[in-house]
Amino acid sequence: MAFLEIKDLHVRVAAPGGRDILKGVNLTINAGEVHAIMGKNGSGKSTLVQALAGRETYEVTRGTVTYDGKDLLDLSAEERAREGVFLAFQYPVEIPGVSTDYFLKAAVNAARKHRGEPEMDSVAFLKLIREKMALLKMDPSFMKRAINEGFSGGEKKRNEIFQMAVCNPRLALMDETDSGLDIDALKVVANGASSLRGPGRAIIIVTHYQRLLNYIEPDFVHVMLDGRIAKSGDKNLALELEERGYDFVERQVAAGV
């Protein structure tokens, strides 16, 4: 059985008269794979990863998602996180008054408790934090600051991948992590994300640009168009998109290719 199996997924905005966004997504991801999802604004790529993470502003109207043998859609957002799903936000939220270290320790321990493991003690936690901070080249003062408060766009994205490295997910969902990053930050962030690549886990990267994929080479690239996956290929598809734009996919779909 595949690690993640998305079948005929339909999602709409959870509001009266909410717009349909995903109109039948099918995607199979095996453990160890990295998939990139590309597409124009409004094609539904961000909605897909947010729905997988359990955001309640989206409503699943049809379809199934099986994750590691479990019905993912049956789990709450926090249960998904404890089961190893991690969403790196496109727009990380500022949370005044809650320090990153308190929050991260609570997050790590919620997952450990869920797995029946003892809570991580302060010494072990500090060691883990230091190691991942070094990986993401982060200033240790970040830990004592309120989550994302007053951070620049780039700092927020770096903080997301730092948290991802600490939480050590089995399914990492990266929602336009590359937007707003300069080339140096991009390399650091990509390096952090690549460290999660390995057997028993999978990464889905949502991006507009091919740039990030130079540093995290995807096994598969998918193009989303109007709420469906319109075309799939290997890493060369990303290069082709970069060269020819998304229009050629639209034309191919229109022509029934």
């Binding site: 993470a53 359990g54 955001r55 309640e56 709450s76 957002a77 926090e78 998904r80 996180a81 404890r82 991690f86 969403l87 936000f89 990380p92 939220v93 949370i95 005044p96 008054g97 809650v98 320090s99 270290d101 308190y102 929050f103 991260l104 609570a106 997050a107 790590v108 919620a110 997952a111 869920h114 004592k144 600051r145 309120a146 989550i147 408060e149 007053g150 948290q163 939480c167």
Partner: protein, 449 residues
């Protein structure tokens, strides 16, 4: 049962105190007459249109007796600072409780004692200052207090004197077989270039009681005053407070006021920036649940030029509680270069909770900067989702965000025993560990405001 310093009834005590102090008799008579004439405020009074004191007016109160029961002792012990205070004066139902107080010598030039004590030795400080800042016209309750007060505290910080540890005034209110009432009175006179920290704790036990307290703080030139008020307990308590502060040239006042209990609370706070360069910061916190009602009326009266003032009030409302914040900034003619910022933020934890936040700016000078902002809403769902997406449970996420919202006020409090008690209260309320770290983001946050 321990006996209090005075076993006499309030009536007797008042008569005896007034002997030889004609000014005091006059003040009391004026208060009683004024209250008899105006009576309790009504909803038709502009300043009281959102707070009905009918439950107070309807209650028949007996004068609180001068005695200590186990309940009062327990409440006082729990709230006491002990050695963390430079001096701790405890009053139970308005009567000074010697046995519970921690009376120590203050640095030379500073005194803190009871009004009764001072009247029996030298009443001139009181005569010169009592009733000068809290005006009877401010609210009927100030007049009521003046008419009925019989004891309280006097703090006098001499010129250039610095008292480092807090002066703690602890007022415990308990009910008897009948509802009781007490009228604590506090006078603080800080002379030029002095520095001190004052804490007023109002602690309520079970049962119906009214605490009507008036505090006056007069600061000479270049004083530094760190003021803190904490009100807790008393599910059926009526708590009415008035604080009047007068700041002369270059004086800096930092105040924090927290309301964590009481059935019906009204706080009137007035700070007059009377001399150039006076600087006032006042932050407030109200944590309400059930059917609690709290009304905070503040007035920052800019009467001189070049004075900054900062005000941040935060309210956390659960159940069917109701909170009123009316923050007035008055800039008088000539108070040029006034720089005043007012912020009111409210978190509604239930659909039935109600917040009424009203800024009121009255500006009669043309070269000033006055800003105000007010937000009211439920816990931010984006923040909740962010925390949940990392594995925190829904309830845990809401509790953590509520705690953080309130801790934004408590973390600014420099008096450790006050901050610790408030944060412990918040942590216990939200099922969070006591050692929860609150990030020190003061500077950034000040800028954001």
């Amino acid at each position: 049962m321990t006996q209090l310093a005075s076993e006499k009834t309030s009536e007797h005590a008042r008569a005896e105190q007034s002997a030889g102090h004609a000014w005091l008799s006059a003040l009391r008579r004026a208060g009683a007459d004024r209250f008899a004439a105006v009576g309790y405020p009504r909803l038709t009074d502009e300043d009281w249109r959102l707070t009905s004191v009918a439950p107070i007016a309807k209650t028949k109160f007996a004068p609180a007796r001068a005695r200590l029961d186990d309940e009062a002792v327990a409440l006082a012990s729990e709230a006491a600072f002990g050695p963390d205070a430079a001096i701790e004066l405890v009053f139970v139902n308005g009567h000074f409780a010697t046995s519970l107080s921690h009376v120590a010598k203050l640095p030379r030039g500073a005194i803190a004692g009871t009004i009764s004590q001072l009247l029996s030795s030298d009443g001139s400080l009181l005569e010169r200052n009592l009733g000068r800042l809290a005006e009877m016209a401010d609210t009927p309750f100030v007049a009521m207090n003046a008419g009925a007060m019989h004891d309280g505290a006097v703090v006098h910080i001499g010129k250039g004197v610095s008292v480092e540890r807090p002066v703690h005034l602890l007022f415990v209110s308990t009910a008897d077989s009948e509802p009781t009432q007490s009228f604590p009175r506090v006078l603080v006179v800080a002379e030029e270039n002095s520095e001190h920290t004052l804490v007023e704790s109002f602690i309520g036990g079970p049962g119906v009681h009214l605490t009507n307290a008036v505090t006056e703080i007069s600061a000479g030139n270049d004083c530094r005053i760190n003021y803190n008020r904490m009100q807790r307990g008393g599910d059926e308590a009526f708590v009415i407070t008035a604080l009047a502060v007068h700041l002369a040239r270059g004086s800096r006042f930092i105040g924090h006021a927290a309301t964590l209990g009481g059935k019906l609370t009204r706080n009137d706070l007035k700070i007059v920036l009377a001399g150039e360069g006076a600087d006032a910061t006042i932050n407030g916190l109200a944590i309400l649940r059930g059917d609690q009602h709290c009304d905070n009326h503040t007035l920052l009266d800019h009467a001189a030029a070049h004075c900054p003032s900062h005000e941040l009030y935060k309210h956390v409302l659960d159940g069917s509680s109701k909170c009123v914040f009316r923050g007035k900034i008055l800039v008088r003619p000539g108070a040029q270069k006034t720089d005043s910022k007012q912020t009111s933020k409210s978190l509604l934890l239930s659909d039935d909770a109600q917040m009424d936040s009203q800024p009121a700016l009255e500006i009669y000078a043309d070269d000033v900067k006055c800003t105000h902002g007010s937000t009211t809403g439920p816990v931010d769902e984006e923040m909740v989702f962010y925390l949940r997406s990392r594995g925190l449970g829904l309830e845990a996420a809401r509790h953590l965000l509520t705690y953080a919202f309130a801790a934004d006020v408590t973390r600014r409090i420099k008096v450790e025993p006050v901050r610790r008690r408030l944060e412990d209260f918040l942590a216990a309320q939200h099922g969070l560990p006591r050692d929860l770290r609150i990030t020190d983001l003061g500077e950034h946050d000040e800028k954001a405001r």
